[in-house]
């Protein structure tokens, strides 16, 4: 069964790119452009992995991560954080809140794909 991945970023261009790369690996991809849209889609579709951009207007990726983690239903869900900041503090913050992985933008699509495969255990 193809794994479901939700990609969240307010930059459409990047969203499209990630979708394309991951679809090539036969994952089922859905996208969201805001924190709220992300939460809605998580509750609706229960993806296996969420790729979250931290820097989004209104609700940030960190906030979304926090909310997901407090819900016991989504304990098994994997989260990868993306951000333009390469600062260590954000890395620690992200991992503290419960992200499984952390990737800095700009990223090489190949690397993202590898990380995703790694997390989903293939």
């Amino acid at each position: 069964m193809a794994k479901k991945i939700l990609v969240v970023d307010d930059e459409i261009d990047l969203l499209k790119l990630v979708k394309r790369c991951l679809e090539r690996c036969n994952y089922k991809i859905s996208t969201a452009e805001s924190g709220e849209e992300a939460l809605n889609k998580i509750y609706a579709e229960s993806p296996d992995l969420v790729i979250l951009d931290i820097n989004m207007p209104n609700m940030s990726g960190l906030e979304v991560c926090k909310r997901i983690r407090t819900d016991p239903l989504y304990k098994k869900m994997r989260i990868v954080m993306l951000t333009v900041k390469a600062a260590d503090t954000d890395k620690v913050k992200g991992l503290n809140i419960g992200a499984d992985e952390y990737l800095a933008k700009p990223f090489i699509p190949k690397e993202l794909v590898l990380r995703v495969k790694n997390i989903l255990g293939e």
């Binding site: 930059e11 452009e33 333009v84 700009p106």
Partner: protein
């Protein structure tokens, strides 16, 4: 000298001066009081003695009077002599037995004749100083004068007595004075410390603030200038914090805005390099377009930042040419053609072709129009309308060109007087619904536009009815011909 020491010293010196003043006046007062007290006693003794004399005359009991007289001298060290004489100044009683039954000296006689009530008289010695003081009191029987009583007091004894009393007082006052000094010292120290404490707290907060902590909030209790200063200081800290926050959010905003297109460019470039030829054939064109778009976006942002910096250092130069306004307008419309179609917005142009040429820097005016149009598109919903119009206005003394961009968005949620803040640096609207997908921007566009229009000696402003009426916002600028 430190402020605290100064306060302490001045207060303490004041206390000392006060104590000195107090002691001098009390000394003078006391001296006077002692003398008067002694005089009073002398007077009452004279009264009593004259009564006794009167009694003796009535009862003819001279023995009693003599004994009484002796006792008076014995019990009162200050008394030098006591005399009782009759109306003819014949001495009937005298503490000096040799002068008994003699005639009083002439000067004493003349004195006693003159008096009508108890009188004090100073007997001077050869060098002019007082030797003795006589208290002369008339002795009466009814209303008839029957004799005179004189009590003589030794001046030296008087002075000794005064000194004695005074010395008692001096001791007492020294004690009080030392106590006062001590208390004054403590009080001055406390007062000075209280003053300094509040100033020091203010100082500490200032230090904290200068190190970047704008949360320093001081509470200077009281109702005086220092507590007022503390309050004003808190206001200033609040303001600085606001400014700092704006700066911080600007920095993070700019960072994000600049890095996003860079991330897109790099990711897409990597994808194109790693994706292989078949993928390249499929999506290459699209990807390159995206790279190019992001490069241009980055360019725009960088240009905005550079413009802002140029504006602030006053290095802006305009390249003025006579141009028909339709030219920049057409250019901008073309730029936004794609976006307009994508967002299903109806762009209506109302630009007559017979408007005379205007002297402008065409590129800059394109920049201004682009900024305004960008905002209009951002805040207009799908199927909305944007009207771009240009008019020749005949007003005297000089006609001008008026350009309006009107949208059908939600308007600006601010009262009329505050609407012009959208032209301020960094101002972006939180909470206004931004339609369409797109980057947030850095809040500089309108700020730069205002600067540019004013550099052209024109005016720019916004008119927006209260939010919710869906009539939209109108940005208007004028340019002189």
């Amino acid at each position: 000298m430190k402020l605290g020491e100064r306060y302490f010293l001045s207060t303490f010196i004041l206390v000392i001066l006060l104590l000195i003043l107090l002691s001098i006046s009390t000394e003078l007062f006391f001296r006077k009081y002692i003398r008067e007290d002694i005089r009073k006693n002398q007077k009452s003794l004279a009264v009593i003695y004259s009564h006794v004399c009167e009694e003796a005359l009535v009862s003819n009991d001279f023995l009693f009077l003599i004994n009484y007289t002796k006792r008076v001298k014995e019990t009162n060290r200050m008394v030098s002599y006591v005399i009782f004489m009759d109306t003819k100044s014949f001495i009937l009683v005298h503490t000096n037995p040799e002068l008994l039954r003699t005639q009083a000296p002439v000067d004493l006689e003349s004195r006693t004749k003159k008096i009508s009530g108890i009188t004090f008289f100073n007997n001077l010695s050869k060098d002019g100083s007082i030797e003795t003081t006589d208290v002369i009191s008339p002795v009466r029987q009814g209303s008839n004068r029957v004799g005179t009583a004189v009590i003589g007091y030794s001046q030296s004894y008087y002075e000794t007595l005064v000194k004695q009393e005074l010395s008692k007082f001096h001791l007492y006052f020294l004690l009080i004075g030392l106590l006062g000094l001590f208390a004054g010292y403590i009080l001055s120290k406390i007062l000075a410390r209280m003053m300094i404490l509040r100033i020091n707290r203010l100082g500490d907060a200032v230090v904290a603030m200068s190190q970047g902590n704008f949360d320093a909030n001081i509470e200077l209790k009281g109702n005086d200038e220092l507590s007022w200063l503390g309050g004003e200081f808190n206001n200033m800290a609040k303001k600085l914090k606001e400014v700092d926050e704006i700066k911080q959010s600007f920095v993070s905003n700019v960072t994000h805005e600049l890095r996003s297109p860079i991330a897109a460019i790099e990711s897409y470039a990597s994808e194109m390099l790693d994706g292989g030829i078949p993928q390249f054939i499929k999506t290459g064109l699209n990807d390159i377009t995206i790279i190019r778009n992001n490069a241009m976006r980055l360019l725009r942002l960088v240009n905005d930042l550079l413009d802002t910096s140029k504006m602030e250092s006053g290095q802006f130069e305009l390249n003025m040419r006579h141009v028909n306004i339709t030219s920049p307008i057409d250019t901008v419309v073309k730029l936004y053609e794609a976006v307009k179609i994508e967002r299903k917005i109806n762009l209506i142009l109302d630009v007559p072709h017979n408007i005379p040429e205007v002297l402008i820097d065409e590129d800059r005016i394109i920049q201004v129009l682009s900024n305004i149009l960008n905002n209009a598109i951002k805040f207009t919903p799908e199927n909305g309308e944007i009207i771009l119009s240009a008019k020749y206005i005949y007003e005297k003394p000089k006609p001008y060109l008026k350009v309006c961009v009107k949208d059908t968005g939600n308007g600006i949620p601010l009262p009329k007087e505050q609407q012009q803040i959208i032209f301020d640096k960094f101002t972006q609207f939180k909470g206004i619904k931004q339609y369409g997908k797109g980057p947030k921007g850095m809040g500089l566009g309108l700020h730069i536009s205002k600067y540019l229009i004013e550099l052209h000696k024109g005016k720019i402003w916004v008119e927006s009815p209260p939010a919710g009426t869906n009539i939209g916002t109108e940005v208007i600028f004028t340019l002189p011909f």
